[in-house]
């Protein structure tokens, strides 16, 4: 979609999330209350179909549009699987399938496909507790195959994330997919795209953390003046801003590269670098924001933890800084020292 259309959509989404996905909804999900109305409205807005082509009844946006939306979703800690469903729908559509309504999620890695049946176990599947179907990409007969497995064909063990979202371990015991097709997107690439989605959500959350901490310090009066007037606090918030800036810049660059290079392979290195970067700094962002808000920000009552806990969970999802850092390090070591700068300046793996 063109720039204006996207900006308008993002603004609408942001306003909508502010009104409908507030604190009570986020806390409700943590207690196991599924916000059915919120999800219904999200579907009515077409958000889960944002990157599905129009001819497949989608909104017709690009990968970049989807990623920009996920940054906004992260900024509001939207506690429903917008990212997971939109990604699942995009993958299904790219394999020629028709996305269904209702919340979906992706179960990536650790599965096998034999005789048309899916077997294996995937841990920490986000929103497994509420997803109506599970999308995966599995190597079968030398080809990446996309499968859509309905909820009633699997067994799910609830393992809520530390942000209180309904993650779970999903066991496929010879499950029969309701749809399967050769996928133009490989299993590794699907994992990369999921990592990119988390990176964008982290950028949104980081942004919100900075705003929250800054506004708080301007309001909070101690020793007779707002604590934001103390140099120690000012420098702490400026340092926080630098980590937030790195998070935002790396995520946006990766989204741009992924989009420009195409769904099947674009921005591989940039995604790895951005997920490494955002995961690496998540701790610093959480630590400084909490320090600036004292005991107040450590309470369940305050919303800061909606964001800091998500940063801690999201840095682990779809590859932490160790996972992606290892891929980058391996590649640059294999290529040797003279490839370091050429590869880095072209945002590509060295070998």
């Amino acid at each position: 979609m063109d720039r204006d259309t996207r900006d308008m959509l993002l603004e609408t989404a942001s306003r909508f999330f502010t009104e409908r996905a507030g604190k009570d909804i986020v806390n409700g999900v943590e207690k196991g209350v599924w916000p059915a109305d919120l999800w219904k409205e999200i579907e009515e807005m077409g958000l889960p179909l944002i990157a599905v082509p129009e001819e497949q009844d989608g909104v017709g946006g690009t990968l970049a549009d989807l990623m920009a939306l996920l940054r906004v979703a992260g900024e509001h800690a939207v506690p429903v699987p917008v990212a997971e469903t939109a990604l699942a729908n995009l993958l299904v559509a790219s394999a020629g399938g028709k996305p269904a309504s209702g919340p979906s999620t992706v179960a990536l890695g650790g599965l096998s496909l034999q005789g048309g049946r899916v077997s294996g176990k995937v841990a920490r599947v986000p929103f497994a507790g509420v997803a109506e179907r599970f999308v995966s990409i599995i190597m079968a007969g030398g080809k990446p195959t996309l499968v859509v497995v309905p909820r009633d064909a699997v067994s799910i063990e609830d393992t809520p994330s530390h942000a209180g979202e309904p993650y779970g371990t999903v066991t496929f015991d010879g499950a029969t997919p309701e749809f399967s097709a050769v996928s133009p997107v490989s299993a590794d690439r699907a994992f990369e795209l999921a990592a990119l989605a988390r990176t964008m959500q982290m950028a949104g959350a980081a942004d919100k953390v900075l705003v929250t901490a800054t506004e708080y310090c301007k309001q909070r009066v101690q020793f007779g003046r707002p604590i934001s007037t103390f140099q120690a606090i000012q420098h702490m918030l400026a340092e926080l801003a630098s980590y937030v800036a790195a998070t935002i810049a790396s995520a946006d660059s990766a989204a741009r590269d992924a989009d420009e290079g195409g769904l099947e392979k674009g921005g591989s290195f940039s995604i790895a670098a951005a997920k490494t970067q955002t995961s690496d700094f998540a701790h610093r962002i959480a630590a400084l924001s909490h320090q600036s808000m004292g005991a107040m920000g450590f309470t369940h009552e305050h919303i800061l933890h909606h964001y800091t806990r998500r940063l801690w969970v999201w840095r682990r999802d779809f590859g932490s800084e160790s996972f992606w850092g290892e891929k980058i390090g391996e590649s640059f070591a294999r290529a040797g020292k003279d490839e370091l700068w050429p590869a880095l300046s072209e945002s590509r793996y060295a070998a």
Partner: protein, 385 residues
């Protein structure tokens, strides 16, 4: 009261700039081995007049300036690419660095026609080098408190005072010197001016200030009744503060703020060998990801500047993060090499590299605006002061 949103819009360098990158890279590949200075790990503060002249002959100094002053009238993004390649390949760019980056642009913007014609073509040929005469024994971060005094006398100024940390003054030709031409000490921003000082002027004495690594980069430059002709005034008398602030902007967000010791990373890759252990690869990858991010940020800032914006906060954030990266790098690399270098010889060699880099590291967060000054700028941008 809402705070401004931080944005780093991803920016692609244009195709001409990337084409230029290829040319610069090929040139460096051929030239650097012939010109290697005594420093194994050169950077923008390692001088080599021979190298600067070679670069000038290619037309890559003063690259953005008008042709009439020896420039190439190319874009500021072309200049960025040249800078990146010099740093990425650890070229000894120290002789021309200040002249090309800030003194030349300052003269172009505020200098007299005579000053421009006399000096800019020489800078562009890689023959004329500059020092920065800002800091004094009692004026560091608080630059407006300078005491060096230029008293108007017939035909010029009589200058008295002392400048310190004046890099390269013992090798360079000129020093753009911030002086008080009117008013009293304590008048702050008022009454300051910039003078183009020929470092061979009688009454100007240059003494070395040796840094902790034993290197002679810095100097103390003393003015004792030094006569500076009136045609050496840069811009208007009394406009020194405005001019010096614009000069400092050149010092903030460039790639030199995170690529000065990229040689450490390159050497780390070498000593870890082609197949490091998983843990070592992961740590190496994290260092590379941070450098990549800084480059994305710096490029985004360049894109915003190209688009006519002045992203002062973003530029300050790049310097803050970049200089701290350069301080973290030798320390993380050192402990990683200690556990994972492939041979004892490689390790011993690398520890010398890392030790040298660690010794140089404290300077990064001081020069060009201390981290604390930068954080003050960011805090103001966040609406905290």
């Amino acid at each position: 009261m809402s705070i401004p949103k931080l944005e780093f819009p991803p920016f692609h360098l244009p195709a001409e700039a990337e084409a230029l990158r290829g040319e610069v890279r090929a040139f460096l590949k051929e030239t650097l081995p012939k010109i290697r200075s005594e420093d194994r790990f050169a950077s923008w503060n390692t001088p080599s007049p021979e190298f600067s002249r070679a670069l000038g002959a290619k037309g890559w100094l003063g690259i953005t300036w008008p042709k009439q002053y020896g420039g190439a009238e190319r874009s500021f993004l072309d200049r960025l690419v040249v800078t990146e390649e010099l740093l990425g390949n650890s070229a000894p760019a120290g002789s021309h660095w200040v002249a090309d980056r800030q003194s030349g642009p300052l003269l172009l913007k505020f200098g007299t026609e005579q000053q421009r014609q006399a000096i800019l073509p020489r800078i562009a040929r890689g023959e004329c080098y500059f020092s920065i005469g800002m800091s004094e024994p009692d004026s560091g971060s608080d630059l407006a408190s300078v005491r060096t005094r230029a008293e108007p006398v017939p035909g010029g100024f009589r200058v008295n005072g002392t400048k310190v940390w004046t890099s390269g003054a013992h090798r360079n030709h000129y020093c753009i010197t911030l002086v008080r031409t009117s008013g009293q000490h304590g008048d702050r921003h008022k009454g300051l001016s910039q003078l183009l000082v020929d470092l061979k002027t009688p009454g100007v004495t240059i003494r070395p200030i040796i840094n902790l690594a034993g290197r002679h980069d810095w100097n103390e430059v003393t003015f004792s009744d030094a006569f500076i002709p009136e045609d050496c005034l840069i811009g208007n008398e009394g406009d020194g503060w405005i001019q010096v602030t614009s000069e400092l902007a050149f010092e903030r967000s460039g790639p030199e703020r995170f690529m000065q010791n990229v040689y450490v990373l390159r050497e780390l890759v070498r000593v870890l060998g082609r197949q490091p252990a998983k843990r070592a690869s992961a740590i190496l990858g994290r260092l590379i990801a941070r450098l990549w991010t800084l480059r994305q940020m710096s490029t985004a800032v360049a894109g915003m500047m190209q688009g006519g914006k002045s992203p002062a906060i973003e530029a300050s954030l790049v310097k803050d993060l970049g200089t701290i990266y350069q301080q973290d790098l030798p320390e993380i690399a050192r402990t990683l090499a200690e556990s994972d270098a492939t041979t004892e010889e490689d390790l011993a060699d690398f520890l010398d590299v890392a030790q040298y880099a660690s010794m140089m590291a404290p300077s990064y967060t001081i020069q060009g605006g201390t981290t604390q000054v930068l954080r003050g700028i960011v805090a103001r941008g966040l609406g905290l002061r």
